[in-house]
């Protein structure tokens, strides 16, 4: 295999003329490549969901007293145990499906349920793109909802002014709460995970306090509950007989807006650059501190808007602990959606459906609502640890790579 190197140029003469010719520079067609990538990207989450449903089914069976009894006499009547189990799983999941997607009313419930999940999920996703882990969605949505509630209770205005004003107030409230986290990080280097958790507690207490003041407490009541929001700030339902309020449309628009912001604007470019390599961003002249504050402000605003859609939509009263759990579900679904706006919408719809269906499932079967939270948790577990799914389904590693990036980012900065 010894060819004197001085002869080599003659051996491959055409190479030198065209630097872009030759095997190493083949191109993959853009659209086909993109679709392939998308399909491959979906495999991970879909398998995770499937696995979670299967494990969920086992848990349903083995927590149900009657079926357990049947399994106790497995050796005398193996058929009964299997049939009972199958029945239970089938009726439970059927009820889950029926009451989330099975009818127009069920579908409406799902969409309403997913609205705040999508918005707060976008908040987590956006902060993540900017290199931060926003655990503070719970606090931000509470403060946002409080600001909106204050507008709703205090003023008496026509709907065209009152509703937009309340929405804007919700965004600002959340933005301030998120902005504080960004400011502390930019100024003092305080880790956003710590400060945003702390601010969650502060927000919860602030809400308790507010509900004890005359401004927020419902007149004549001593328990912590606000008056109902007036009709002029309530989100209208654009389609008659389909009980989905405007918030859902807003959430979809905002998701598109978040995508546009991240991918098509200089601000989004900066956010992503700071998130991916802050040193290089600084070298490139981007204000890293300003971008950090701005990113957390925007993220907070999205969470605030999420809280506001709950208040002006399905649950028009402030109470203690106002939907703080949405803030945590949002972290999970941003992980499932791989921190991309479209992924968050998909994951938000899934979680919305699971949560909307869970009530119906509990009513129709003996399966408790809590099983849904177990399934949610399992989905996240399988997305975060793709090795499990990989082993179970024998999928090649390369196809399940991307999910790791999000979970590996846990407090990485």
């Amino acid at each position: 295999m010894t060819a004197p190197p001085t002869e080599a140029p003659e051996a491959l003469p055409s190479d030198a003329d065209d630097p872009l010719a030759g095997a190493p520079h083949e191109r993959r067609p853009g659209v086909v490549g993109a679709l392939r990538e998308l399909a491959l990207g979906l495999i991970g989450p879909l398998l995770a969901i499937l696995t979670a449903l299967i494990v969920g089914a086992l848990i349903i069976v083995f927590t149900d007293p009657t079926t357990l009894e049947a399994w106790g006499s497995f050796f005398s009547a193996p058929g009964t145990a299997l049939a009972d189990s199958w029945d239970l799983i089938a009726t439970s999941y059927r009820a889950l499906f029926d009451s989330s997607l099975g009818s127009q009313r069920a579908l409406a419930r799902t969409l309403v349920q997913s609205t705040p999940l999508i918005l707060v999920g976008l908040s987590v996703a956006l902060a993540f793109k900017a290199g931060m882990f926003n655990i503070g969605g719970a606090g931000q949505l509470i403060v946002g909802a409080m600001a909106a509630a204050w507008i709703g209770i205090t003023f008496d205005l026509p709907q065209v002014v009152h509703l937009p004003l309340a929405l804007v107030a919700g965004v600002i409230g959340g933005a301030v709460w998120g902005g504080i986290v960004g400011f502390l990080k930019a100024r003092t280097g305080a880790h956003e995970v710590i400060t945003s958790i702390m601010l969650n507690f502060v927000a919860l207490r602030l809400l308790d306090y507010a509900l004890s003041t005359d401004t927020f407490r419902r007149p004549g009541r001593s328990d912590p509950i606000s008056p109902e929001m007036p009709a002029s700030v309530r989100l209208p339902e654009p389609i008659d007989s389909f009980q989905v309020h405007l918030g859902f449309v807003i959430a979809l628009l905002v998701a598109w807006g978040a995508w546009w912001l991240l991918q098509r604007t200089t601000i989004g470019f900066r956010m992503r650059a700071v998130g991916a390599n802050a040193k290089a961003a600084r070298y490139a002249g981007m204000g890293v501190a300003a971008t950090t504050v701005l990113s957390m402000g925007i993220a907070g605003g999205l969470a605030g808007l999420g809280g506001t859609t709950i208040l002006l939509g399905s649950t028009p009263r402030l109470t203690g602990g106002f939907f703080a759990s949405v803030g945590f579900d949002a972290i999970a679904l941003a992980l499932l959606g791989r921190a991309s706006p479209i992924g968050v919408v998909g994951a938000g719809l899934l979680f919305g459906a699971l949560q909307a269906g869970s009530t119906g499932m509990q009513a129709q079967t003996s399966t408790p609502i809590d099983i849904i939270f177990v399934i949610q948790a399992l989905i996240i577990l399988f997305v975060a640890a793709p090795a499990i799914v990989r082993t179970v389904w024998r999928v090649k590693e390369t196809r399940l790579g991307a999910g790791q990036r999000f979970s590996a980012g846990w407090g990485a900065q």
Partner: protein, 501 residues
């Protein structure tokens, strides 16, 4: 250990990085791999080290087929690798880094630090590595960090050592030490694979030289059979001129004026002490010096990445002391940073975005806050062509490019927007001879178009080839200045070593 690669092919989506590569490395030999940027050298070595799995072909160790699914397997089989980009934990000590992954224990789960320290001391003495096991890695100069990487491999009893561009970041005297160490390792019976773009050192150290081009082996030779010119021609596939053509400079107005500048480094030590000089339009001024004599801090202060504690920086007569990097870009200053992975690129972003990383705020790349994707793509297509950046597409993440091609992305970007002053720190580090020639040509061209060029390079050949004036830094101050005609290896080398002219 005798290492044989047989018919290795490695494909990435859209790229064939290695095609049917055959290679035999005999024990006791230093086998050099030569090839252009993106020829597939690192990829081939990553296959041998178990980081990538080959698409086709097999690896034989002492004649026995071996199959690695991870570097751990390769290490077990006696292969050690020092990567092009170091893989050390900066906040760990040398001993901790070396034992990482194979920690000795005194009882189950209890680290035996003393054993590790002793082993490090012993190895370092035996191979003349001269490393302090208790030093914190982040405090060490790159040359020593490099030796820590080698220690890591030796600690794991590597019988075959892969060194991917180990000398790229070293100073001339460190390179001499390194070559000596490599020779000794080979003489003890190890097989060594050595990758470098510096033909002189390849000829000095190698027993056998294999040349890769576009993923294929195009020839095997020895230092006695081929001189530098022949090696360069074989690598690139066309004649390469190793000297730069350039006429005398005709400098005009002062563009950059630095007066009495003082700069402190991260540890608050005075790194630059009262430095003053000018750079005029139409000239190339080189800052020479052994790395670590204040050049990096000086450059950071000029381009706005570090605030000087005293003194002035003027651009075209305007005071820009302490201006931020964005402002400097606006004023027409471009800067190729020294550490490309850390400062110059965002490795997960596509090539196209990296080619406008610090330019997105201006037209034609954006209007208002809206980025113009089309303009960004057109810019990328053009620069990829001009600078011969080897990538599967402008949408590929820049991190998937070979080291030299990543460097070309930065140089291309910065040279595309300079209006007044071009500041270059180690601009051709890791580039192959053909690319160096092209970039040098572009630098001279930029000068002739009336730009002021400030070159910070520890590569003496580069300084001598390009500079119209050479400023030599020593211990934070300017120890002397030599004109381009008078500059020789000796005259500049003496000053670099601290001997006043």
């Amino acid at each position: 250990m005798r290492v044989e690669l047989r018919g290795i092919t490695k494909r990435f989506p859209g790229v064939v990085a290695n095609e049917d590569v055959n290679l035999v490395v005999e024990p006791g030999q230093v086998h050099a791999l030569l090839g252009e940027n993106g020829a597939g050298k690192s990829t081939l070595m990553n296959v041998l080290f178990g980081l990538y799995r080959q698409t086709e072909g097999e690896v034989l160790l002492d004649g026995v087929p071996a199959s690695f699914s991870s570097p751990a397997d390769a290490i077990d089989a006696g292969i050690g690798m020092v990567h092009q980009h170091f893989m050390l934990v900066p906040v760990f000590t040398v001993a901790e880094n070396v034992m990482l992954g194979v920690e000795p224990t005194s009882a189950p789960g209890v680290l035996d630090r003393d054993a590790a320290r002793r082993r490090v001391l012993e190895l370092s003495a035996r191979h003349g590595l001269d490393v302090d096991p208790d030093a914190m890695v982040e405090d060490l100069p790159v040359g020593v960090q490099q030796r820590v990487e080698i220690l890591k491999a030796l600690y794991r009893e590597a019988d075959c050592l892969i060194l991917d561009e180990p000398t790229a970041v070293l100073t001339p005297s460190e390179i001499d030490d390194m070559l000596e160490i490599i020779r000794r390792l080979a003489d003890e019976g190890r097989s060594v694979i050595f990758i470098s773009h510096k033909l002189r050192e390849v000829r000095a150290i190698a027993d056998t030289i294999t040349i890769l081009r576009r993923g294929r082996v195009v020839g095997t030779t020895t230092p006695d059979e081929s001189d530098e010119q022949e090696l360069a021609t074989a690598m690139v596939g066309r004649d390469v001129q190793l000297v730069v053509d350039r006429s005398a400079a005709s400098p005009t107005d002062v563009v950059l004026r630095v007066s009495d500048l003082r700069v402190r480094d991260e540890r608050d030590q005075l790194a630059v002490a009262d430095v003053s000089f000018d750079v005029r339009a139409g000239e190339i001024v080189a800052i020479a010096g052994v790395q670590g004599n204040g050049q990096s801090e000086l450059v950071s202060a000029i381009v706005g990445l570090r605030r000087p504690t005293a003194g002035r920086v003027e651009l075209d007569g305007t005071d820009v002391t302490g201006a931020n990097p964005a402002r400097m870009v606006e004023l027409g200053v471009a800067h190729v940073p020294e550490d490309r992975q850390r400062d110059g690129l965002i490795s997960s972003f596509p090539v196209s975005d990296n080619l406008v990383l610090n330019l997105t705020g201006r037209s034609p790349y954006s209007r208002g806050i809206r980025m113009d994707r089309r303009a960004i793509r057109e810019n990328a297509e053009r620069l990829v062509q001009d600078f011969d950046i080897r990538t599967s597409s402008i949408d590929a993440a820049v991190g998937t490019l070979s080291g030299g091609n990543q460097q070309k992305v930065i140089v291309g970007r910065e040279m595309s927007h300079t209006e007044r002053l071009l500041v270059l720190s180690q601009p051709t580090r890791g580039l192959d001879v053909g690319s160096i020639q092209y970039i040098h040509h572009r630098i001279v061209q930029a000068r002739d178009q009336g730009l002021a060029v400030l070159l910070n390079s520890s590569e003496l050949d580069e300084v001598l080839a390009l500079a119209d004036r050479v400023i030599v830094m020593y211990r934070g101050g300017v120890i002397g200045e030599v004109s381009g005609e008078e500059a020789t290896r000796d005259s500049v080398g003496m000053l670099m070593a601290g001997a006043r002219a």
